[in-house]
Amino acid sequence: MHEGHIMQKLTNYLPWLKPVIKLVKGENPTEQIKIILAKVGTPLLGLVIFLIIWAGAASAIDTSLGKFPGPGEVRTQFLNLLDESKAEKEKEIAFYERQQKRNEAKLAKDPNAKVKIRPYTGNPTFFDQIGTSLVTVLSGFILASLIAIPIGIIIGLSPGLYAAFNPIIQLFKPVSPLAWLPLVTMVVSAVYVTKDPMFSKSYLTSMITVLLCCLWPTMINTAVGVASISKDLINVSKVLRLSWLTNIYKIVIPSSLPMMFTGLRLSLGIAWMVLIAAEMLAQNPGLGKFVWDEFQNGSSNSLGRIMVAVLVIGAIGFLLDRGMLTLQRVLSWDKTADIR
C-alpha cells in the first residue's frame, strides 16, 4: 500500500519510469514493451541516423590535424581519457603511499621530527575538469538565484520599483559574458587579496561571471510572475489581513513559482554556456580549459578529444535542465501544467 504510494509519487515526477515499473511488475508486458519502444525507439532511431550522417560527413572533412573525428574515433578517445584518468589516480595513490612511508620512517628514527604532508600536484584529468566545471556552474547559479529571486519578488510587488529597476535589467541582460570577464578578473585580483585563500582566483572569476549572466532571466521572470498574481488572491490576502511576510510565502511565492522556474531553467542553461566560454577565454580550470588546451596541443588525437568534450558538455547541459524540470515537478502545485 505504502510502497504503491511512493511509486505513484515517483512516477508523477519522473513520468518515463511508469512503463518500466509496470514491466518489472509484470503488468501486461507486451503492452509495456510497446510503450517503451515507442518512447525510446523513435529517439533511438534519430540518434542512429545522426551517427550515420556524422560518420559520413566526418570522413569527408580533412583538417591540418587529420580527418575530422567520427563516432569511432570519439569512442577511442573517450576510452583513452578514461585510461589516463585511471593512471593519474594510481599515480596519486602511489605518491601518497610513498610520502606516508617516508614520514613513518622519519618518525621511527626521531619521534619529534617534523613531518610534512604535501598535496599531490598532478595534471587535472578530464574528469577532474568536469567536476570543477560542475561545481563552478552550480555555485554561481545558486548564488545568482539567491540574489535574483528576492529582488524579483520585491520589484514585482511594487510597480514603482519595477519601473526603476527595469532599465537596469534590460541594459545588463544582453551583455555577453566575455565582456564581463576582463572586468571581473581585474576586480577579483584587486579585491580578493588574502594570505590563505579559501577559493582560487580562477574559480572566483568563472563563478562571478556565471553569476552576472544568470541573474537576469530569474529576476525578470520572478518579477513578472509576482506582478501578475490574480487580483482576487491579493484581495483574499487583504481581507485576511495577512502580514507582509505571510503574504509573501503563502500567496506570492506559490503563485509565482511556475514563472520563477521558467526563469531558473533559462538561467541555468545560460550559466552552463557562459561557463565554458569563460573557462576557455580565461584559461580557468574546467571543461573549457580542456578544450582550449587540446586545441593548442594540436596532436592527431586533439580533435577527437575535443569532440568528446563537446558531447559531454551537451550531455551535462541536458542533465542539468532535466534536473531543474524534475525539481519543478516536485515543487510546483500545478501538476496539470504541461511542463517540458
Binding site: S230, V236, V239, L240, P254, W333
Partner: protein
Amino acid sequence: MTHTVPHLELTGVSIDFPTPNGPFRALNKVNLKIEEGEFISLIGHSGCGKSTVLNIVAGLYKATEGGVLLDGKEVDEPGPERAVVFQNHSLLPWLTAYENVELAVKQVFKGQKTKPEMKEWIEHNLNLVHMDHAMDKRPDEISGGMKQRVGIARALAMEPKILLMDEPFGALDALTRAHLQDSLMEITSSLGNTVIMITHDVDEAVLLSDRIVMMTNGPAATIGEILEVNLERPRNRVELSDDSEYNHYRHAVLQFLYEKQRNPDDKTEASKTDKEEMSEEASMASEKLTDNKPEAA
C-alpha cells in the same frame, strides 16, 4: 430591531474612479442602513456599481465622499470581520479545500483557539457546506459548485460580523444554484449572519432576502428603491413559486429593472424615448456622456 445605531451604515457614499477622461463617478450618494441578522440583496443592471458598493463595504475600495460605519466604527481597510465570497471562488489553487479554510482560521483565531479546536472548527465549517467528503482535494479537482461551497466555508469560518457575497452563484447551473441557495438559507437562519449578496437573479433575490436593494443605472448610480420581503421563513421554493405574495415581490423587482431602469446596453428603445423629451443639443450631450462611459467591469 431595537438598535439605535444600525449594525452597518452607509452614509452619502460616492466614488470617483480616475480615467483618462477625468474622474468617473460610479456611485453617487448611496445611503443604506442594515440591521444585525438581515439578509440584503443588491440587484441592478450590469455595470451599475454593485460590486463597487460591496468593495467599499469590504474596505477594498475607498469612498471619495461619505463613509461606512460598522457597529459605529469607520471602515477604512479590509478585514476578516467583513468576509467576502468572491464571484469566482478565488481559492488558492495550490492548497486543498481544508488548507484553504485553514489559512483563514489560523489567521483569524491565532492565539484564541488551540490546534485541535482549529481543526474541529475547520471541519465543522466544511461540514456546514457539505464539503467534508472532499476536504483533501485541491480546487482543480472539484467542480465549480464545490469550489463556491469551499469559498463560503472559508468566509463563514472567519466568523464575520457581516458576510459579503459578490454573485456567489452566478457561474453555476440552475440546479446547483438552487441547491446552494437552500444550503445558504439553512446556514444563515441557524447562524443569524448579516449578509449582503449581489445577484442578477430575481428569484434568488426574493427567495433569500429580507430586503432587496435595487440600484439605478450608472454612471453616478444610487439606490433606486428598497423592497421589503415579508415572506415567512423557512421558505420553500416550490411552495413559493405558486404563492401570490411571492409573485407580487417578483413583479415589483422586474418592474423596477425592466420598466423604471431599462438596461443601459439596450440603447435603441431607451434612448429613443429619452430623446423625445429632450432638446436636440441636450440629447447630443447625453449621447456623448454614454459614449464616454467606461466599459462595465
